[in-house]
């Protein structure tokens, strides 16, 4: 998928589709879907929050799969996908961590709650940054790829354990908020699904772009190296 990368035809179609879906998504969120009765306008951030949260977790799953593939084959193609996915995942997790508190403030009147999903997102964000740091601290390319792949695997496995432990923890605390028990109208659910779908498309679009940028970067480094060798 990457030799042709961002230039290929399918990728162009993906881009166009993402753009259209995003437009539809925005229309649905801001114009079509009815406002929530109690929370009002601010509830619309929910569609962005859930959409990006889904992508954030999904991106880490991709990191996990391609890390395993890299360790099995040592093919730098897989490493580029894993690391690109990690960078996109970090951005989306950051959005989750920004939209989460805004939503919490308006619905629970507090910026932050140690609610399992939000807390897990925070830890996920730390793990993503740790992944990027491992790449930054490793000196040679092969170390970068191999060590971050190992970290990508154990980091991903840690996430559900974090989620369950935090959930237990919040149960053993007196719960102040009865979760996010919100009644979703069919229209809201539909909008939510469209939102999740379009953010997923956006993720794949970014992934393709970033992978081809990484590919070009690697090629450039190779050309530079050969040039140096040539010039002595």
């Amino acid at each position: 998928m990457e030799k042709e990368g961002a230039k290929s035809k399918t990728f162009g179609i993906l881009g166009a589709l993402t753009f259209l879906m995003m437009l539809v998504n925005l229309y649905l969120i801001f114009i079509w879907v009815p406002e929530e009765k109690i929370l009002g306008l601010v509830q619309k951030i929910f569609y962005f929050h859930v959409g990006t949260a889904w992508v954030a977790f999904f991106a880490f799953f991709v990191v996990f799969i391609y890390s395993i593939l890299y360790l099995k084959t040592k093919d730098s193609k897989w490493d580029r996908i894993a690391s690109a996915s990690a960078e996109i995942g970090t951005v989306f997790t950051t959005i989750v961590l920004i939209t989460g508190p805004i939503w919490a403030k308006s619905s629970w009147n507090t910026w932050w709650t140690w609610e399992p999903r939000l807390t897990t997102s925070l830890i996920l964000w730390f793990i993503y940054l740790a992944y990027i740091l491992v790449r930054g601290f490793a000196t040679e390319y092969q170390k970068k790829a191999q060590l971050s792949a190992v970290f990508g695997i154990i980091g991903f496995i840690d996430v559900p354990i974090v989620f369950f432990s935090v959930r237990w923890w919040s149960i053993s605390h007196p719960t102040l908020f009865s979760g996010s028990g919100m009644n979703l109208d069919p229209e809201m659910l539909f909008t939510l699904l469209v939102s999740v779908a379009s953010f997923t498309l956006l993720y794949f679009y970014f992934l393709g772009k970033l992978v081809s940028i990484f590919h070009v970067r690697a090629e450039l480094a190779e050309i530079k190296r050969r040039l140096k060798e040539h010039l002595g």
Partner: protein
């Protein structure tokens, strides 16, 4: 006997070793020559089972079983790094490595080898009190403790003064006469040629020369080597 079949090693985009095949017969003395960055140390580490090649195989054949653990017990590896623990005494260093290599009758063997390298009197002093020459002798003791059949020497002359180099050269000659198979990496052309029965020249990860040495064609080879190195 070692057989390397189509060994290639890639670190990311960089190809360190390119499709190298070679056979080293028992009792041979092979010297690997080549300019910096030719991949000779890497090849040595691949053959000594420290690094795994990206593709290709390394096969060791000795008397006894083919289990990796038993093969490793037939291998000795000497580098300009001593592999010694500075805080431990010479005796403890040998005891530790002897236990890892499961040396039979370890106490006697350690006494014997310390006697050989002339360190018996100092064997209960920690290594950090040793002079450079003593460290070198102790690392030779460590190398030979488990009586390996196959010796790998990775730039053993680095960091030694003229006298240290001469002593090491003598020792290497004696070991070869005892029937050990030797594979040495060095960038000291003269010293290498002086010792070798056969030389192997690497350049940019490929094998560019492999052959026996007779005094008549020494000059040709020297020129050939110079030419190879200078086109770098």
């Amino acid at each position: 006997m070692i057989r390397g079949e189509n060994i290639s090693l890639k670190l990311g985009e960089k190809t360190i070793l390119r499709d190298i095949s070679l056979v080293v017969d028992p009792g041979e003395f092979v010297v690997l020559l080549g300019p910096n960055g030719a991949g000779k140390s890497t090849l040595l580490k691949v053959l000594a089972l420290i690094l795994k090649p990206t593709s290709g195989r390394v096969i060791h054949k000795y008397q006894g079983s083919d289990r990796e653990e038993d093969i490793k017990r037939k291998i000795g590896f000497l580098s300009h790094r001593s592999f010694l623990y500075e805080r431990l005494t010479a005796w403890e260093n040998l005891e530790f490595y002897g236990k890892l290599y499961q040396v039979a009758d370890l106490t006697r063997r350690a006494e014997e080898i310390l006697e050989q390298v002339g360190l018996s009197y100092y064997c209960h002093d920690p290594v950090y009190t040793y002079s450079r020459g003593m460290v070198q002798r102790l690392s030779l003791a460590r190398l030979l403790l488990h009586n390996p059949e196959m010796l790998f020497l990775d730039e053993p002359f680095t960091g030694l003064d003229q006298k240290g180099g001469e002593i090491l050269t003598e020792t290497i000659k004696v070991l070869h006469e005892q029937g050990k198979t030797m594979l040495m990496v060095t960038h000291y052309f003269d010293r290498g040629v002086d010792l070798a029965g056969r030389i192997l020249v690497l350049n940019k990860g490929s094998k560019v020369f492999d052959g026996k040495l007779t005094s008549s064609d020494l000059r040709d080879i020297q020129e050939f080597y110079r030419a190879q190195v200078e086109t770098e």
